[in-house]
Amino acid sequence: MSDTVTLSLPVRSELLVLARITAATMASRADFDIEEIEDLRLAVDELCLSVVWGAKSGTVRLEFSVDEATIAITCELDGSGEPDDVVGPGEPDDLSMRLIEALVDEHGRESSDSRRRAWLSKRRSRVEH
């Protein structure tokens, strides 16, 4: 089965928890184990932080896809038409980058003056029962 869920939030620190909860719920449904679910909770949080870094407004758009044993998450910042909301390419924190690197299997990012986007994917270890 392949399921895609999208979530759009305003840049508001109190709503970041929704990205974590959605990632954890989908991973749990996709039979990831508890340790892997916790890894994803932290990884998606860091992914958002790295994309949203410095923005004062705009919309954060997340896409969560589960396909077989892999969950893929992309995070994108739409600057809501006010270009100075996005202050140059994101400079993700070194700590964020180390965490993402350690917690997921693959990840990447692309940013231009007007757009920031990052993604990750993680495969569960548990085999199909």
């Binding site: 974590r20 860091e46 932080l49 924190d93 964020s96 180390r98």
Partner: protein, 113 residues
């Protein structure tokens, strides 16, 4: 729900013990920073941060703790952490911060160590 965040403070033998419970992220880390700032401004030497009740913490939380640690160290003090949960310790291991902070398994050990 796991959405709660709470800070409780005690002073034990003159040492402030800041106990945090819940999730420390970009929304709640500023509250932790305020609490630590009060102790830094008040001239505390050693501060113990008890993370036993923390269920989640991200790089924002780490940034707050590292900042406070550096300021206390620069004035001759230190910031000690209390962590028992492997999941929380893992975050400090991945970021190599286990080599920066003095980390203890209980508040008593942090106060003694």
């Amino acid at each position: 729900m796991e959405l709660t965040f709470e800070i409780n403070e005690r002073v034990i033998g003159g040492v402030p013990v800041v106990a945090v419970a819940g999730e420390i992220d970009v929304a709640t880390a500023p509250t932790l920073a305020e609490h630590l700032g009060v102790h830094e401004a008040g001239g505390a030497n050693v501060v113990v941060v008890d993370l036993l009740g923390v269920s989640f913490l991200d790089s924002t939380a780490l940034g707050v703790l590292v900042g406070s640690f550096k300021r206390l160290r620069d004035s001759g003090g230190t910031l000690k952490l209390v962590i028992a949960e492997p999941r929380i310790l893992k975050v400090f291991e991945i970021t190599d911060l286990v080599r920066v902070f003095p980390i203890f398994a209980t508040v008593d050990e942090a106060l003694a160590g």
